[in-house]
Symmetry: C3
Protein backbone atom coordinates (compact mmCIF):
# COMPACT_ATOMS: atom_id res chain seq x y z
CA UNK A 1 0.00 0.00 0.00
CA UNK A 2 2.91 2.34 -0.55
CA UNK A 3 0.89 4.22 -3.19
CA UNK A 4 -1.69 5.29 -0.65
CA UNK A 5 0.96 6.15 1.90
CA UNK A 6 2.57 8.36 -0.73
CA UNK A 7 -0.70 10.25 -1.15
CA UNK A 8 -1.01 10.66 2.58
CA UNK A 9 2.46 12.06 2.99
CA UNK A 10 1.76 14.50 0.15
CA UNK A 11 -0.72 16.08 2.52
CA UNK A 12 2.02 16.71 5.07
CA UNK A 13 4.38 17.86 2.29
CA UNK A 14 2.06 20.77 1.46
CA UNK A 15 3.49 23.97 2.98
CA UNK A 16 0.20 25.33 4.35
CA UNK A 17 -0.62 21.96 5.90
CA UNK A 18 2.89 21.68 7.38
CA UNK A 19 2.45 25.12 8.93
CA UNK A 20 -0.91 24.04 10.37
CA UNK A 21 0.71 20.86 11.75
CA UNK A 22 3.56 22.84 13.32
CA UNK A 23 1.50 25.59 14.98
CA UNK A 24 -1.26 23.23 16.11
CA UNK A 25 1.27 20.91 17.73
CA UNK A 26 2.97 23.84 19.47
CA UNK A 27 -0.28 25.29 20.85
CA UNK A 28 -1.50 21.86 22.00
CA UNK A 29 1.84 21.23 23.76
CA UNK A 30 1.46 24.62 25.43
CA UNK A 31 -2.02 23.60 26.61
CA UNK A 32 -0.63 20.33 27.95
CA UNK A 33 1.87 22.32 30.04
CA UNK A 34 -1.12 23.61 32.03
CA UNK A 35 -1.61 20.08 33.43
CA UNK A 36 1.98 20.04 34.72
CA UNK A 37 1.53 23.55 36.14
CA UNK A 38 -1.63 22.45 37.96
CA UNK A 39 0.19 19.44 39.41
CA UNK A 40 3.12 21.67 40.44
CA UNK A 41 0.86 24.10 42.33
CA UNK A 42 -1.22 21.30 43.91
CA UNK A 43 1.96 19.73 45.29
CA UNK A 44 3.79 22.90 46.39
CA UNK A 45 0.61 24.51 47.86
CA UNK A 46 -0.59 21.17 49.23
CA UNK A 47 -4.09 21.73 47.86
CA UNK A 48 -5.81 18.58 46.60
CA UNK A 49 -9.32 17.58 45.73
CA UNK A 50 -9.31 13.75 45.84
CA UNK A 51 -8.93 12.02 49.25
CA UNK A 52 -6.71 9.31 47.64
CA UNK A 53 -4.24 12.07 46.62
CA UNK A 54 -3.53 13.05 50.24
CA UNK A 55 -3.10 9.50 51.59
CA UNK A 56 0.71 9.91 51.67
CA UNK A 57 0.31 12.77 54.19
CA UNK A 58 -1.08 10.40 56.81
CA UNK A 59 -4.59 9.38 57.87
CA UNK A 60 -7.65 11.16 59.16
CA UNK A 61 -7.56 14.88 60.00
CA UNK A 62 -3.85 15.31 59.28
CA UNK A 63 -4.49 14.48 55.61
CA UNK A 64 -7.96 16.05 55.37
CA UNK A 65 -6.63 19.57 55.84
CA UNK A 66 -4.96 19.31 52.41
CA UNK A 67 -8.34 18.81 50.71
CA UNK A 68 -8.79 22.49 49.97
CA UNK A 69 -8.86 24.98 47.15
CA UNK A 70 -5.91 27.27 46.53
CA UNK A 71 -5.94 30.56 44.61
CA UNK A 72 -2.95 29.66 42.43
CA UNK A 73 -4.30 26.21 41.57
CA UNK A 74 -7.70 27.66 40.64
CA UNK A 75 -6.04 30.32 38.47
CA UNK A 76 -4.11 27.71 36.46
CA UNK A 77 -7.30 25.64 36.08
CA UNK A 78 -9.17 28.66 34.70
CA UNK A 79 -6.32 29.28 32.24
CA UNK A 80 -6.45 25.63 31.19
CA UNK A 81 -10.23 25.74 30.60
CA UNK A 82 -9.85 28.98 28.63
CA UNK A 83 -7.27 27.19 26.47
CA UNK A 84 -9.71 24.35 25.81
CA UNK A 85 -12.51 26.77 24.92
CA UNK A 86 -10.33 28.58 22.38
CA UNK A 87 -7.94 25.92 21.06
CA UNK A 88 -10.72 23.43 20.21
CA UNK A 89 -12.26 25.91 17.68
CA UNK A 90 -8.77 26.57 16.27
CA UNK A 91 -8.15 22.81 15.91
CA UNK A 92 -11.28 22.31 13.80
CA UNK A 93 -11.58 25.61 11.94
CA UNK A 94 -7.80 25.81 11.38
CA UNK A 95 -7.75 22.35 9.78
CA UNK A 96 -10.62 23.20 7.44
CA UNK A 97 -8.99 26.55 6.66
CA UNK A 98 -5.69 24.82 5.82
CA UNK A 99 -7.61 22.56 3.41
CA UNK A 100 -9.50 25.48 1.83
CA UNK A 101 -6.45 26.55 -0.22
CA UNK A 102 -5.34 29.82 1.44
CA UNK A 103 -2.22 31.70 0.36
CA UNK A 104 0.80 30.53 2.36
CA UNK A 105 1.63 34.02 3.74
CA UNK A 106 -2.00 34.48 4.82
CA UNK A 107 -2.12 31.06 6.51
CA UNK A 108 1.17 31.71 8.33
CA UNK A 109 -0.14 35.10 9.50
CA UNK A 110 -3.30 33.51 10.94
CA UNK A 111 -1.49 30.63 12.64
CA UNK A 112 1.26 32.83 14.09
CA UNK A 113 -1.17 35.39 15.52
CA UNK A 114 -3.29 32.63 17.06
CA UNK A 115 -0.41 30.77 18.71
CA UNK A 116 1.25 34.04 19.80
CA UNK A 117 -2.01 35.27 21.33
CA UNK A 118 -2.47 32.06 23.33
CA UNK A 119 1.11 32.20 24.66
CA UNK A 120 0.65 35.87 25.64
CA UNK A 121 -2.72 34.98 27.20
CA UNK A 122 -1.06 32.35 29.37
CA UNK A 123 1.62 34.77 30.63
CA UNK A 124 -0.98 37.51 31.19
CA UNK A 125 -3.13 35.07 33.19
CA UNK A 126 -0.40 33.36 35.21
CA UNK A 127 1.80 36.35 36.25
CA UNK A 128 -0.89 38.04 36.28
CA UNK A 129 -0.47 41.17 34.18
CA UNK A 130 -2.93 44.06 34.68
CA UNK A 131 -5.92 44.14 32.36
CA UNK A 132 -6.50 44.61 29.44
CA UNK A 133 -3.41 42.42 28.70
CA UNK A 134 -5.29 39.16 29.11
CA UNK A 135 -8.40 40.53 27.41
CA UNK A 136 -6.55 41.80 24.35
CA UNK A 137 -4.51 38.62 23.89
CA UNK A 138 -7.75 36.64 24.07
CA UNK A 139 -9.42 38.92 21.48
CA UNK A 140 -6.54 38.48 19.00
CA UNK A 141 -6.87 34.68 18.99
CA UNK A 142 -10.67 34.93 18.82
CA UNK A 143 -10.62 37.36 15.87
CA UNK A 144 -8.15 35.29 13.88
CA UNK A 145 -10.32 32.18 14.36
CA UNK A 146 -13.39 34.10 13.09
CA UNK A 147 -11.35 35.22 10.06
CA UNK A 148 -10.42 31.60 9.24
CA UNK A 149 -14.06 30.52 9.72
CA UNK A 150 -15.12 33.19 7.20
CA UNK A 151 -12.63 31.84 4.64
CA UNK A 152 -13.86 28.25 5.20
CA UNK A 153 -17.52 29.20 4.75
CA UNK A 154 -16.73 31.37 1.70
CA UNK A 155 -14.82 28.48 0.07
CA UNK A 156 -16.92 25.50 0.97
CA UNK A 157 -20.43 26.51 2.09
CA UNK A 158 -22.73 23.50 1.60
CA UNK A 159 -25.87 23.58 3.73
Amino acid sequence: RSGEMAKLTQLIDNDVFRAYATYTTIVLLKMMLMSLLTAYFRITRKAFVNPEDTASFGKGESAKKYLRTDQDVERVRRGHLNDLENIVPFLGIGLLYALSGPELYSALLHFRIFVGSRILHTFAYMIPLPQPSRGLSWVAGYAVTISMAYKVLKTSLYL
Copy 2:
Protein backbone atom coordinates in the same frame (compact mmCIF):
# COMPACT_ATOMS: atom_id res chain seq x y z
CA ARG B 1 3.86 22.47 -5.48
CA SER B 2 0.62 23.30 -7.24
CA GLY B 3 -0.01 19.59 -7.87
CA GLU B 4 -0.22 18.87 -4.17
CA MET B 5 -2.36 21.90 -3.55
CA ALA B 6 -4.74 20.64 -6.22
CA LYS B 7 -5.08 17.36 -4.32
CA LEU B 8 -5.73 19.22 -1.09
CA THR B 9 -8.46 21.37 -2.59
CA GLN B 10 -10.05 18.23 -4.04
CA LEU B 11 -10.71 17.27 -0.45
CA ILE B 12 -12.66 20.45 0.15
CA ASP B 13 -14.37 20.04 -3.26
CA ASN B 14 -15.96 16.78 -2.14
CA ASP B 15 -19.62 17.42 -1.23
CA VAL B 16 -19.66 15.38 1.98
CA PHE B 17 -16.45 17.02 3.14
CA ARG B 18 -17.80 20.47 2.27
CA ALA B 19 -20.91 19.73 4.31
CA TYR B 20 -18.71 18.62 7.24
CA ALA B 21 -16.65 21.81 6.90
CA THR B 22 -19.78 23.98 6.86
CA TYR B 23 -21.62 22.41 9.80
CA THR B 24 -18.48 22.03 11.92
CA THR B 25 -17.60 25.69 11.40
CA ILE B 26 -21.15 26.76 12.30
CA VAL B 27 -21.28 24.71 15.49
CA LEU B 28 -17.80 25.87 16.56
CA LEU B 29 -18.79 29.51 15.97
CA LYS B 30 -21.90 28.86 18.08
CA MET B 31 -19.67 27.49 20.85
CA MET B 32 -17.42 30.55 20.60
CA LEU B 33 -20.49 32.76 21.17
CA MET B 34 -20.65 31.31 24.70
CA SER B 35 -17.41 33.17 25.54
CA LEU B 36 -19.00 36.49 24.51
CA LEU B 37 -22.14 35.62 26.48
CA THR B 38 -20.06 34.87 29.58
CA ALA B 39 -18.23 38.20 29.21
CA TYR B 40 -21.57 40.00 28.72
CA PHE B 41 -23.05 38.53 31.93
CA ARG B 42 -19.84 39.09 33.92
CA ILE B 43 -19.86 42.78 32.97
CA THR B 44 -23.61 43.48 33.32
CA ARG B 45 -23.93 41.44 36.57
CA LYS B 46 -20.56 42.71 37.82
CA ALA B 47 -19.48 39.20 38.81
CA PHE B 48 -15.79 38.49 38.29
CA VAL B 49 -13.34 35.87 39.43
CA ASN B 50 -9.89 37.45 38.90
CA PRO B 51 -8.85 40.39 41.13
CA GLU B 52 -7.14 42.09 38.14
CA ASP B 53 -10.52 42.18 36.35
CA THR B 54 -12.11 44.40 39.00
CA ALA B 55 -9.23 46.89 39.26
CA SER B 56 -11.14 49.48 37.22
CA PHE B 57 -13.85 49.56 39.93
CA GLY B 58 -11.43 51.06 42.46
CA LYS B 59 -9.21 49.59 45.15
CA GLY B 60 -9.73 47.47 48.24
CA GLU B 61 -13.22 46.57 49.48
CA SER B 62 -15.04 48.62 46.82
CA ALA B 63 -13.60 46.32 44.11
CA LYS B 64 -13.58 43.09 46.16
CA LYS B 65 -17.35 42.93 46.33
CA TYR B 66 -17.43 42.21 42.58
CA LEU B 67 -15.40 39.02 43.07
CA ARG B 68 -18.46 36.82 43.33
CA THR B 69 -20.39 34.12 41.50
CA ASP B 70 -23.60 34.95 39.69
CA GLN B 71 -26.37 32.51 38.70
CA ASP B 72 -26.52 33.72 35.09
CA VAL B 73 -22.75 33.62 34.61
CA GLU B 74 -22.57 30.09 36.04
CA ARG B 75 -25.42 28.95 33.78
CA VAL B 76 -23.63 30.17 30.63
CA ARG B 77 -20.42 28.51 31.81
CA ARG B 78 -22.23 25.18 32.27
CA GLY B 79 -23.67 25.53 28.77
CA HIS B 80 -20.20 26.25 27.41
CA LEU B 81 -18.69 23.19 29.11
CA ASN B 82 -21.56 21.02 27.84
CA ASP B 83 -20.77 22.29 24.33
CA LEU B 84 -17.11 21.29 24.74
CA GLU B 85 -18.07 17.83 26.04
CA ASN B 86 -20.31 17.18 23.02
CA ILE B 87 -18.73 19.14 20.17
CA VAL B 88 -15.24 17.65 20.68
CA PRO B 89 -16.56 14.11 19.93
CA PHE B 90 -18.44 15.50 16.90
CA LEU B 91 -15.26 17.21 15.66
CA GLY B 92 -13.28 13.95 15.68
CA ILE B 93 -15.94 11.35 14.88
CA GLY B 94 -17.60 13.63 12.29
CA LEU B 95 -14.31 14.09 10.42
CA LEU B 96 -13.65 10.35 10.32
CA TYR B 97 -17.26 9.74 9.30
CA ALA B 98 -16.96 12.26 6.46
CA LEU B 99 -13.84 10.37 5.26
CA SER B 100 -15.54 6.96 5.54
CA GLY B 101 -17.53 7.51 2.33
CA PRO B 102 -21.13 7.98 3.55
CA GLU B 103 -24.00 8.82 1.19
CA LEU B 104 -24.41 12.59 0.88
CA TYR B 105 -28.06 12.60 2.08
CA SER B 106 -27.09 10.50 5.09
CA ALA B 107 -24.15 12.74 5.97
CA LEU B 108 -26.29 15.88 5.65
CA LEU B 109 -28.95 14.30 7.89
CA HIS B 110 -26.37 13.52 10.60
CA PHE B 111 -24.68 16.94 10.46
CA ARG B 112 -27.97 18.87 10.40
CA ILE B 113 -29.47 16.99 13.35
CA PHE B 114 -26.26 17.47 15.36
CA VAL B 115 -25.95 21.21 14.74
CA GLY B 116 -29.71 21.74 15.19
CA SER B 117 -29.64 19.84 18.48
CA ARG B 118 -26.78 21.95 19.83
CA ILE B 119 -28.53 25.20 18.89
CA LEU B 120 -31.76 24.01 20.53
CA HIS B 121 -29.75 22.89 23.57
CA THR B 122 -28.29 26.36 23.94
CA PHE B 123 -31.72 28.05 23.80
CA ALA B 124 -33.20 25.45 26.18
CA TYR B 125 -30.33 26.06 28.62
CA MET B 126 -30.13 29.85 28.41
CA ILE B 127 -33.84 30.84 28.47
CA PRO B 128 -34.28 28.30 30.31
CA LEU B 129 -37.06 26.12 28.89
CA PRO B 130 -38.73 23.55 31.15
CA GLN B 131 -37.31 20.04 31.02
CA PRO B 132 -37.16 17.74 29.09
CA SER B 133 -36.37 20.34 26.37
CA ARG B 134 -32.69 20.53 27.25
CA GLY B 135 -32.47 16.79 27.89
CA LEU B 136 -34.03 15.83 24.57
CA SER B 137 -31.94 18.24 22.52
CA TRP B 138 -28.83 16.82 24.21
CA VAL B 139 -29.94 13.23 23.45
CA ALA B 140 -30.44 14.00 19.73
CA GLY B 141 -26.85 15.24 19.30
CA TYR B 142 -25.51 12.36 21.38
CA ALA B 143 -27.41 9.71 19.37
CA VAL B 144 -26.32 11.11 16.03
CA THR B 145 -22.67 11.07 17.16
CA ILE B 146 -23.01 7.40 18.19
CA SER B 147 -24.52 6.63 14.77
CA MET B 148 -21.53 8.24 13.01
CA ALA B 149 -19.11 6.36 15.30
CA TYR B 150 -20.83 3.09 14.33
CA LYS B 151 -20.32 3.89 10.62
CA VAL B 152 -16.65 4.76 11.20
CA LEU B 153 -15.96 1.54 13.09
CA LYS B 154 -17.89 -0.56 10.53
CA THR B 155 -15.89 0.98 7.66
CA SER B 156 -12.41 1.19 9.12
CA LEU B 157 -12.03 -1.04 12.18
CA TYR B 158 -8.31 -1.80 12.64
CA LEU B 159 -7.33 -2.81 16.15
Copy 3:
Protein backbone atom coordinates in the same frame (compact mmCIF):
# COMPACT_ATOMS: atom_id res chain seq x y z
CA ARG C 1 -17.52 13.20 -8.47
CA SER C 2 -16.74 9.56 -7.83
CA GLY C 3 -13.07 10.22 -8.60
CA GLU C 4 -12.74 12.56 -5.67
CA MET C 5 -14.67 10.20 -3.43
CA ALA C 6 -12.23 7.47 -4.40
CA LYS C 7 -9.35 9.67 -3.27
CA LEU C 8 -11.11 10.38 0.01
CA THR C 9 -11.76 6.74 0.73
CA GLN C 10 -8.09 6.00 -0.02
CA LEU C 11 -7.36 8.00 3.10
CA ILE C 12 -9.50 5.70 5.20
CA ASP C 13 -8.04 2.66 3.37
CA ASN C 14 -4.57 3.49 4.69
CA ASP C 15 -3.76 1.17 7.60
CA VAL C 16 -2.24 3.82 9.87
CA PHE C 17 -5.18 6.13 9.24
CA ARG C 18 -7.66 3.29 9.86
CA ALA C 19 -5.93 2.58 13.17
CA TYR C 20 -6.15 6.30 14.08
CA ALA C 21 -9.86 6.30 13.14
CA THR C 22 -10.54 3.20 15.24
CA TYR C 23 -8.69 4.23 18.41
CA THR C 24 -9.87 7.85 18.25
CA THR C 25 -13.50 6.72 17.91
CA ILE C 26 -13.10 4.31 20.84
CA VAL C 27 -11.54 6.90 23.16
CA LEU C 28 -14.14 9.55 22.20
CA LEU C 29 -16.96 7.06 22.88
CA LYS C 30 -15.34 6.33 26.27
CA MET C 31 -15.32 10.08 26.98
CA MET C 32 -18.98 10.32 25.97
CA LEU C 33 -19.79 7.61 28.56
CA MET C 34 -18.80 10.14 31.25
CA SER C 35 -21.91 12.18 30.37
CA LEU C 36 -24.14 9.16 30.99
CA LEU C 37 -22.29 8.42 34.22
CA THR C 38 -22.82 12.01 35.40
CA ALA C 39 -26.54 11.78 34.60
CA TYR C 40 -26.74 8.42 36.41
CA PHE C 41 -25.16 9.81 39.60
CA ARG C 42 -27.20 13.05 39.44
CA ILE C 43 -30.43 11.01 39.29
CA THR C 44 -29.56 8.30 41.83
CA ARG C 45 -27.94 10.76 44.31
CA LYS C 46 -30.61 13.40 43.58
CA ALA C 47 -27.99 16.11 43.19
CA PHE C 48 -28.80 18.71 40.54
CA VAL C 49 -27.56 22.14 39.63
CA ASN C 50 -30.33 23.66 37.47
CA PRO C 51 -33.69 24.54 39.15
CA GLU C 52 -35.60 23.34 36.06
CA ASP C 53 -34.08 19.85 36.56
CA THR C 54 -35.75 19.41 39.97
CA ALA C 55 -39.22 20.64 38.92
CA SER C 56 -40.54 17.07 38.77
CA PHE C 57 -39.80 16.68 42.52
CA GLY C 58 -42.42 19.30 43.39
CA LYS C 59 -42.33 23.02 44.03
CA GLY C 60 -40.53 25.32 46.45
CA GLU C 61 -38.44 23.91 49.32
CA SER C 62 -39.23 20.26 48.55
CA ALA C 63 -37.43 20.58 45.20
CA LYS C 64 -34.76 23.06 46.30
CA LYS C 65 -33.07 20.55 48.60
CA TYR C 66 -31.97 18.60 45.51
CA LEU C 67 -29.96 21.57 44.23
CA ARG C 68 -26.75 20.43 45.84
CA THR C 69 -23.32 19.05 45.04
CA ASP C 70 -22.54 15.38 45.56
CA GLN C 71 -19.10 13.80 45.96
CA ASP C 72 -19.73 11.09 43.35
CA VAL C 73 -21.13 13.53 40.79
CA GLU C 74 -18.17 15.88 41.26
CA ARG C 75 -15.72 12.98 40.89
CA VAL C 76 -17.20 11.94 37.54
CA ARG C 77 -17.15 15.56 36.38
CA ARG C 78 -13.45 15.86 37.24
CA GLY C 79 -12.78 12.65 35.32
CA HIS C 80 -14.71 14.03 32.35
CA LEU C 81 -12.74 17.29 32.36
CA ASN C 82 -9.46 15.37 32.63
CA ASP C 83 -10.55 13.39 29.57
CA LEU C 84 -11.19 16.61 27.64
CA GLU C 85 -7.82 18.06 28.66
CA ASN C 86 -5.96 14.96 27.43
CA ILE C 87 -8.07 13.63 24.55
CA VAL C 88 -8.21 17.00 22.72
CA PRO C 89 -4.38 17.01 22.31
CA PHE C 90 -4.53 13.36 21.17
CA LEU C 91 -7.24 14.22 18.62
CA GLY C 92 -5.10 16.90 16.98
CA ILE C 93 -1.57 15.58 17.45
CA GLY C 94 -2.66 11.99 16.69
CA LEU C 95 -4.22 13.06 13.37
CA LEU C 96 -1.09 14.94 12.32
CA TYR C 97 1.06 12.02 13.48
CA ALA C 98 -1.04 9.58 11.41
CA LEU C 99 -0.46 11.83 8.37
CA SER C 100 3.29 12.12 9.03
CA GLY C 101 3.97 8.62 7.68
CA PRO C 102 4.88 6.61 10.80
CA GLU C 103 5.56 2.86 10.68
CA LEU C 104 2.35 0.89 11.27
CA TYR C 105 3.70 -0.99 14.31
CA SER C 106 4.87 2.28 15.87
CA ALA C 107 1.53 4.00 15.23
CA LEU C 108 -0.39 1.06 16.71
CA LEU C 109 1.87 1.10 19.77
CA HIS C 110 1.23 4.82 20.35
CA PHE C 111 -2.54 4.59 19.81
CA ARG C 112 -2.94 1.46 21.97
CA ILE C 113 -0.95 2.89 24.89
CA PHE C 114 -2.93 6.14 24.75
CA VAL C 115 -6.36 4.52 24.67
CA GLY C 116 -5.36 1.92 27.27
CA SER C 117 -4.03 4.63 29.57
CA ARG C 118 -7.28 6.64 29.35
CA ILE C 119 -9.39 3.54 30.11
CA LEU C 120 -7.17 2.68 33.09
CA HIS C 121 -7.31 6.34 34.20
CA THR C 122 -11.10 6.21 34.23
CA PHE C 123 -11.19 3.04 36.35
CA ALA C 124 -8.50 4.41 38.70
CA TYR C 125 -10.51 7.64 39.10
CA MET C 126 -13.99 6.16 39.43
CA ILE C 127 -13.36 3.17 41.75
CA PRO C 128 -11.09 4.96 43.09
CA LEU C 129 -7.82 2.99 43.18
CA PRO C 130 -5.06 4.16 45.56
CA GLN C 131 -2.45 6.47 44.05
CA PRO C 132 -0.21 6.35 42.07
CA SER C 133 -2.59 4.29 39.84
CA ARG C 134 -4.37 7.33 38.47
CA GLY C 135 -1.16 9.35 38.25
CA LEU C 136 0.74 6.67 36.32
CA SER C 137 -2.09 6.00 33.87
CA TRP C 138 -2.26 9.75 33.21
CA VAL C 139 1.52 9.94 32.65
CA ALA C 140 1.44 7.10 30.09
CA GLY C 141 -1.10 8.89 27.89
CA TYR C 142 0.72 12.20 28.31
CA ALA C 143 4.13 10.72 27.38
CA VAL C 144 2.78 8.99 24.29
CA THR C 145 1.19 12.25 23.09
CA ILE C 146 4.54 14.06 23.52
CA SER C 147 6.23 11.30 21.54
CA MET C 148 3.75 11.75 18.66
CA ALA C 149 4.20 15.54 18.80
CA TYR C 150 7.98 15.04 18.48
CA LYS C 151 7.46 12.91 15.35
CA VAL C 152 5.10 15.52 13.84
CA LEU C 153 7.53 18.39 14.44
CA LYS C 154 10.50 16.33 13.17
CA THR C 155 8.62 15.47 9.97
CA SER C 156 6.84 18.70 9.16
CA LEU C 157 8.34 21.64 11.04
CA TYR C 158 7.45 24.84 9.16
CA LEU C 159 7.56 27.99 11.26
